[in-house]
């Protein structure tokens, strides 16, 4: 292979016009000057021998007169009626399509038609190549150089070589670069740049050196996740097919994770490319190398497309175009139908490139085994096949017709004859192309071999059974099946199907090759070992791409990374290194970076480090533009300051989750499934791409639907509410300062605090106190309690804390019970237990109608260790009865180690009578230790079941077993909390000094106070702010 721009021989048209007897010299001149060059250069490529677009051929006069689909091309003597002229004038058709011809040229044709269209008798026109000297000087196909780093007089501004290139270029214009941004800005910038996440507050405290921070972040697994996002856009990764049904692709996520892993391993780019294009050929036993070939599966796919061949052609084109987009930064798309209009890319180049993929075979059964194992398996398989060929052939003759005629789902019948014929053939009898098409078609129907006995006649079935027995006799030859993976791709076999140029009727196929202008040597294809059943074409392509001499691949990827960090590539048009793209602003720097990238073993980490360590990248972004700068470089292409950056869709989501402390509970946005027909509404609004075609750089739009979404959608309000909870109840000013630090990674100024405080005050003043249903009701004795209705599925929880009892404990409560369950469920007063008999814990409650302990029995359920290290469940029943609709004081005191009668003591007192006695019951228990689970304490239920119906005034918990005297004296011994429901404004507040307030989640009761709402609104506004989603 060679990567030197080739010198082309212009294929001059075959100028053999014999003396045209009938034509005068003037007529010949008219034709040769006005007509032949025009037709030859602009028309006969598509309207000639190889192709006849619109069934039109313009190679001879006869053909012109006969014309095409729209009628004759010319009417001699009548320019006004000649379609050709209309088309050249762009009046109906627009020909030639790439660019309208000069008026003078068209006038020449007109003159010729008017003169009766003289044509030398034997003249037949042939196309000429369009590649020019200018094309061969195209910058991006020149070899990558290793330019010397410029010497600059920079007064110590430069931090590394990048800076010297940038400084030298700025110096040419007389521009000084900007100074470095402040430490806080840089810390935030570097975090988003490398991980796509904001810094955490503890980073702020460490005052780490930036270079160390860069290294540390490059080692963070969030780095790979962030990098994966860029790559997934390029390869149009999605979790669904596209098209109408848009079926899910559950396997695809393995590819996403592979990409994350690859970046985190700092897999060399050349290896990364090799794996994705040809992992099956180069490393068949490596799971990751195989998963990488899902790169070849991300095309859109219509599961019931009858035009199987048409769809297959689309798929191959899609893979070809994507590969060119991703690795070469050249869009080949239009060369599918004709030579590229603006770039020297030929239609033939397109099909040569496509030819590397022509043998592609989507695989759901791809063996995962190393070469030795594959070889052994293959040899054995061959033996078995040889020995059984005759039997299988006869078996197939019986089975296949019956199977196909009874196929279900879409069925075989719906395909056209040609495809049915391919399906009807045995695999060994199919050409590679037939097998590709037949197996694509086979994805649309199901066969049912188990039903063959019903469909075959007696004789056939008997013969089939006989053959099957014969076949089974060779089972000992059969190799053991290999483990397989699905949603991968390999080749259809060692032989490739031919590749034809679209609309080319010459019947000559093209062989794999590279764009002519870059490398005109034939592709060297080394067949892989026979057992791999592959052509080696994709390996050849991958080797060409990753050859350090390839002029595009390293430049393209280095430029993509640069664009990631500066918002603009050294070549601005990251996907188009062609003529409509922009040439590099710093060609030497691009080449120097590309050279270092390859030299560094194609390491992304080193490239990121190099860029982020530069003074160029570390410049401040808020340097004001001056008149001079506005004149010299208004768009900052020379980098006299850093470009600020809006966060990507994923970063916005992640940053908000990070602010509310929910990242980790919720996965990063990268992991949201990508449904092509149902774009994620949140990400989609912030320019998440369609993932249908390769996209190298996202749009960046600012729209009112974005504002509406962040403003009104519940999601952002929920984040604000969660963040408010996280910041807790601190004084306003502290709350504001904490919010600024968490969100913007800086201290709020005094003025900012004042503005925010004023907002809180005014918001609070217009916010009415919450209208919520009365939560409390009175018991018969006038005691207030929270009114719990099992239908409402309320939840009252005291969050877990360290001191929760794991030994002796006492629970006290004042309650009123309204009803029992009709079954044996328990009306629970308080629980520190999941309800699972294998989990440690306890629950205090009252038995219901069908309880084995009789109804209305005050019981303690306890799961603890009896000395055998195992949690064991027991019910400790007091046999004290709790009557309905009566207020009670009740308690249970547990001496955990004491398994005598004195271990557990229950107390119950009816509060509706002034003189009711305190009932006491002593009960034996067995658990001795280890009763504490890692969960919150629930009031009025356990695991949101076994719910209380009635009122609860309070629940007290102590981590000590109190005696009757102590209880009567209401001592504070061991008091952990005293959660009360006696004040509508402070429902669930802990009356002890420990602040273990209960969170009360009752329908309609979550209404927040004006102060809470104002704080949430403040955070919501900050989450919506520009500072939140822009990085300086």
């Amino acid at each position: 292979m060679r990567f030197v721009p080739v010198i082309l021989l212009l294929l001059l048209s075959n100028f053999v016009a014999s003396a045209a007897d009938e034509l005068t010299p003037q007529q010949v001149e008219l034709f040769e000057i006005n007509v032949r060059p025009v037709l030859v250069t602009h028309c006969v490529k598509c309207h000639g021998d190889a192709k006849q677009e619109g069934s039109l051929r313009l190679t001879t006069l006869e053909e012109m007169l006969r014309g095409g689909e729209s009628g004759p091309a010319i009417v001699p003597g009548k320019p006004g009626e000649s379609l050709l002229l209309e088309a050249l004038r762009y009046e109906s058709f627009e020909m030639p399509p790439d660019q309208q011809l000069d008026g003078k040229v068209v006038a020449g044709i007109e003159k010729w038609i008017a003169a009766g269209a003289p044509w030398p008798k034997t003249a037949k026109l042939r196309p000429v190549s369009k590649i020019t000297e200018e094309d061969r000087n195209w910058w991006c196909i020149q070899p990558i150089r290793d330019p010397a780093v410029p010497d600059v007089n920079d007064n110590g501004w430069c931090r590394n070589e990048i800076d010297r290139f940038v400084f030298a270029r700025l110096a040419q214009e007389g521009i000084q670069p900007a100074e470095a941004a402040d430490q806080q800005s840089l810390t935030r910038r570097v975090h988003f740049a490398l991980t796509g996440l904001p810094p955490t507050e503890d980073v702020q405290a460490t005052h780490q050196k930036l270079d160390e921070l860069i290294d540390q972040l490059l080692d963070n697994s969030a780095y790979g996740e962030n990098q994966a996002r860029f790559w997934l856009d390029l390869v149009r990764y999605a979790d669904s097919d596209g098209y109408n049904a848009d079926h899910a692709r559950p396997e695809a996520a393995q590819y996403r994770d592979y990409v994350v892993r690859s970046f985190n391993e700092d897999k060399p780019y050349d290896r990364f490319v090799m794996e994705q294009l040809a992992g099956d050929e180069i490393d068949p036993g490596n799971r990751d190398a195989l998963i990488a070939t899902m790169y070849l599966r991300h095309w859109i796919y219509e599961w019931n497309q009858r035009d199987v061949e048409g769809q297959w052609a689309e798929i191959l084109s899609d893979v070809t175009e994507t590969t060119s987009d991703v690795f070469l930064g050249l869009s080949m798309k239009c060369a599918r139908c004709h030579d590229h209009k603006f770039d020297p890319l030929l239609q033939k180049d397109y099909y040569q490139l496509l030819s590397f993929f022509a043998p592609l075979q989507p695989r759901e059964d791809m063996p995962l085994a190393d070469l030795a194992t594959r070889t052994e398996h293959y040899q054995q398989q061959k033996k078995w096949e040889a020995a059984t060929e005759d039997i299988r052939k006869r078996l197939d003759a019986i089975e296949r017709p019956a199977l196909l005629s009874h196929s279900t789902r879409e069925g075989v019948a719906k395909f056209v004859q040609e495809i049915k014929a391919m399906i009807s053939k045995r695999v060994v009898d199919r050409t590679p192309y037939e097998h590709q098409i037949a197996s694509m078609a086979a994805r649309q129907f199901d066969l049912h071999p188990d039903k063959l006995p019903e469909w075959l006649d007696e004789n056939q079935e008997a013969e089939r059974q006989e053959l099957r027995q014969q076949l089974a006799a060779f089972d000992h030859l059969k190799p053991r099946p290999l483990p397989t993976l699905s949603f991968l791709a390999s080749d259809v076999g060692p032989e490739a199907p031919p590749t034809f140029i679209l609309d080319d009727r010459s019947g000559v196929s093209v062989e794999p090759g590279f764009p002519f202008i870059i490398d005109d040597t034939p592709a060297e294809i080394v067949p892989p070992p026979e057992a791999l059943r592959s052509t080696g074409r994709r390996t050849a392509l991958a080797r060409w791409l990753t050859d350090p001499q390839n002029p595009l691949v390293a430049r393209v990827i280095v430029n993509r990374v640069w664009a990631q960090h500066f918002g603009r590539g050294l070549v601005d048009t990251v996907n188009d290194f062609g003529h409509l793209g922009t040439p590099p602003t710093h060609p030497d720097l691009l080449d120097w970076l590309a050279t270092r990238f390859v030299e560094d073993g194609w390491s992304f980490r080193k490239l990121h480090r190099r860029i982020l360590s530069s003074a160029t990248w570390q410049q401040r972004s808020d340097r004001p533009i001056t008149d001079e700068l506005r004149m010299l470089d208004p768009s900052n292409t020379l980098l006299w300051r850093m470009n600020p950056r809006r966060l990507s869709a994923e970063e916005i989501v992640d940053a908000m989750l990070s602010a509310s402390g929910e990242l980790g509970v919720q996965k990063r946005a990268l992991y949201r499934p990508v449904r092509r027909n149902k774009p994620d509404p949140q990400l989609g609004l912030f320019d998440f791409p369609g993932r249908i075609r390769s996209q190298g750089q996202r749009h960046q739009t600012t729209t009112s639907p974005q504002a509406l979404m962040l403003l009104n959608n519940a999601w952002s309000h929920d984040r604000a509410a969660a963040m408010s909870t996280l910041l807790g109840s601190q004084p306003d000013d502290d709350f504001i300062r904490a919010a600024y630090r968490r969100l913007f990674f800086r201290d709020a100024s005094g003025e900012e605090v004042a503005v925010a405080r004023e907002f809180l005050n005014s918001y609070e003043s217009v916010t009415p106190p919450p209208v919520r249903p009365k939560l409390l009701a009175e018991m018969a004795d006038g005691t207030l309690g929270i009114d719990l209705d099992p239908e409402q599925k309320s939840s009252i929880q005291v969050p877990w804390f360290d001191e929760l009892p794991n030994g002796d404990f006492t629970v006290e409560a004042t309650v009123m019970l309204r009803s029992l369950y009709p079954d044996a469920s328990v009306r629970t007063i308080a629980a520190h237990w999941s309800g699972n008999n294998g989990d440690r814990g306890w629950a205090l409650g009252v038995t219901s109608t069908k309880s084995a302990y009789q109804p209305k029995n005050l019981i303690l359920q306890l799961v603890g260790d009896r000395g055998d290290g195992q949690p064991t469940y027991e019910v400790i029943a007091s046999n004290l009865r709790v009557e309905l609709n009566k207020p009670y004081y009740l308690a249970v005191s547990v001496k955990l180690g004491d398994v005598s009668e004195n271990g557990v003591t229950f107390y119950l007192q009816d509060l509706s009578m002034d003189d009711a006695t305190l009932q006491v019951a002593h009960v034996v228990h067995h658990a001795k230790s280890e009763i504490r689970p890692q969960r919150s304490v629930e009031i009025g239920g356990r695991s949101k079941t076994h719910l209380w119906d009635g009122l609860i005034h309070n629940v007290q918990l102590r981590n000590a077993a109190l005696s009757e005297e102590q209880l009567q004296a209401d001592e504070a011994t061991g008091l952990l909390f005293d959660v009360r429901f006696a004040d509508e404004q402070h429902v669930g507040q802990d009356a002890s000094s420990h602040h273990h307030d209960a969170t009360v989640d009752i329908k309609g009761a979550t209404a927040k106070s004006p102060q809470q709402l104002a704080r949430i609104a403040l955070l919501h506004a900050l989450l919506n702010s520009n500072e939140m989603i822009y990085v300086d």
Partner: protein
């Protein structure tokens, strides 16, 4: 001019180099280049192209999803009666049919056909109300497309190609003409029922263009557009306070970053959002309409109510400057009469005919028909051959669309299909031609409405469309 990246206009010209690119682009630029680089960016929804020649300022595209039968509505074929029950003669050529039943016998239509209006255009008795507008309608009988199935067909009728990834017609129009009323979406999509339009939101997507140009789907139930309503916990006063506070901190933030016009654009987007929140509910409030108007659209009848509502909303939207409105009828391929076409099309026509007729009447009486282009059609037509005995398969090779209003030379039937209505034969209009013609009616030269993407000058018609000039009443 927008491109893959938001680059300055000056860059754009430089990048395009001389020659072709520069010419086209220069034609596109509505502002002089001397405006300077760091002035406030113009709204991306400002018009890029003038449509001074055009009569049509808005489009209402009535999309009959699933493929209505031209043979039973607008393109009478007496030959079908003669051939009834027989296979189609080979002379008509073979086509691939979606369901593979090519050799099924011909199915005659059971319609009563009549000529209507002074123009004497033919319409069947399935669309008696639409027929009364014969003189305001231009019927195009010679449409053809490539998409043989719904997914490809609907995609192509919207984007020009069967394959996903390109911008929809509405997105192109929005890109080219912007909107005079940024308080409402420029491109609104409605559907008559809750089903999913084949391919989903991709049909009104912006493809490779920024999402800004994509259609905004109206919700079938609840608030008109997603995220339009404040959450229940926030009242108007509270939201205003929050927005004011947000503006304060955003302006403070922008003060030290003066050259970043994006920041201003984002501040503005919140005000626009607030405005939209106020205006959109008014735009969709049908209680403002008289009982007579509501009745005209059939809102008093359960058959016509759903589509009547959409058609009436469409009128209200174009009144308020919305550029492109698409109303899907039969969302979820309900026009797809593979069997029992009599029952299917009776129902579909009953639900569609009166509302569509009312729309034409209403637009006309309000003087809006001249400035509104109404386009009616599906993704393809149906075959003369039967399917499953009494149905018809998809027919992409010949079908009808009709247009009315905005600059259309009405009262004519254009083009024709062959004797049995299988292939378009005379004045054939490919989907690319239909799109180019719609743009022309809006005063946009489809050859000049270009978008630079991956080094290519992309157009709605992929460089293949021709304007069907016969149908233009001006220019």
């Amino acid at each position: 001019m927008w491109t893959d990246r938001e680059i300055s206009r000056r860059d754009m010209l430089l990048q395009a180099g001389g020659g072709f690119g520069a010419l086209v682009l220069a034609g596109l630029l509505s502002e002089s280049l001397s405006a300077g680089e760091t002035t406030v960016a113009p709204s991306p929804l400002a018009a890029r192209m003038m449509n001074r020649m055009a009569r049509a300022k808005s489009v209402i595209f009535l999309f009959m999803e699933g493929g209505p039968s031209h043979l039973d509505l607008t393109d009478p074929k007496p030959a079908l009666k003669k051939l009834e029950g027989k296979p189609l003669p080979d002379s008509f050529g073979r086509v691939i049919t979606a369901m593979g039943e090519f050799d099924s016998p011909v199915l005659a239509d059971q319609r009563k056909w009549r000529q209507h209006g002074e123009s004497g255009q033919w319409f069947s008795d399935w669309i008696p109300n639409i027929a009364t507008h014969a003189d305001d309608i231009a019927v195009i009988r010679s449409c053809w497309t490539n998409g043989i199935n719904h997914s490809g067909g609907v995609c192509q009728m919207n984007t020009g190609t069967q394959f996903a990834g390109r911008p929809s017609l509405g997105a192109w129009v929005t890109y080219g003409l912007g909107t005079p009323n940024e308080n409402l979406p420029a491109f609104v999509v409605m559907q008559d029922r809750k089903g999913t339009v084949v391919n989903g939101p991709r049909n009104w997507g912006a493809g490779f263009m920024p999402a800004l140009y994509q259609g905004t789907a109206m919700q079938v139930e609840g608030e008109p557009f997603l995220n339009l309503g404040r959450p229940g916990s926030v009242d108007a006063r509270q939201q205003r306070l929050e927005l004011d506070f947000l503006a304060t901190i955003n302006k403070r933030h922008a003060a030290t970053r003066q050259d970043n016009s994006e920041l201003d654009a984002r501040i503005r987007s919140y005000e626009l959002a607030y405005q939209m929140q106020a205006h959109a509910p008014e735009a969709v409030d049908l209680s403002e309409e008289t009982a007579e108007t509501q009745k005209l659209y059939g809102l008093d009848n359960k058959d016509t109510e759903a589509y009547g509502r959409n058609c009436l909303l469409a009128r209200r939207f174009v009144e308020r400057g919305v550029r492109f409105v698409q109303c899907y009828h039969g969302a979820g391929s309900k026009w797809d009469a593979h069997k029992g076409i009599e029952a299917n099309h009776s129902t579909m026509c009953r639900a569609m005919d009166q509302p569509v007729s009312a729309l034409l009447t209403d637009l006309k009486q309000r003087g809006l028909l001249d400035s509104t282009l109404v386009v009616w059609g599906g993704e393809f037509g149906r075959t003369p051959m039967s399917e499953k005995g009494d149905g018809r398969d998809h027919n992409p090779t010949g079908f009808t669309m009709w247009m009315a209003g905005g600059g259309v030379r009405a009262g004519h039937a254009y083009g024709s299909t062959d004797e049995v209505g299988l292939h378009a034969v005379e004045d054939r209009l490919h989907v690319h031609d239909i799109h180019s013609t719609i743009l022309a009616l809006m005063g946009v030269d489809h050859k000049k409405l270009v978008y630079l993407h991956k080094g290519q000058m992309e157009r709605i018609d992929q460089n293949e469309g021709r304007v069907f000039k016969d149908i233009l009443s001006v220019g």
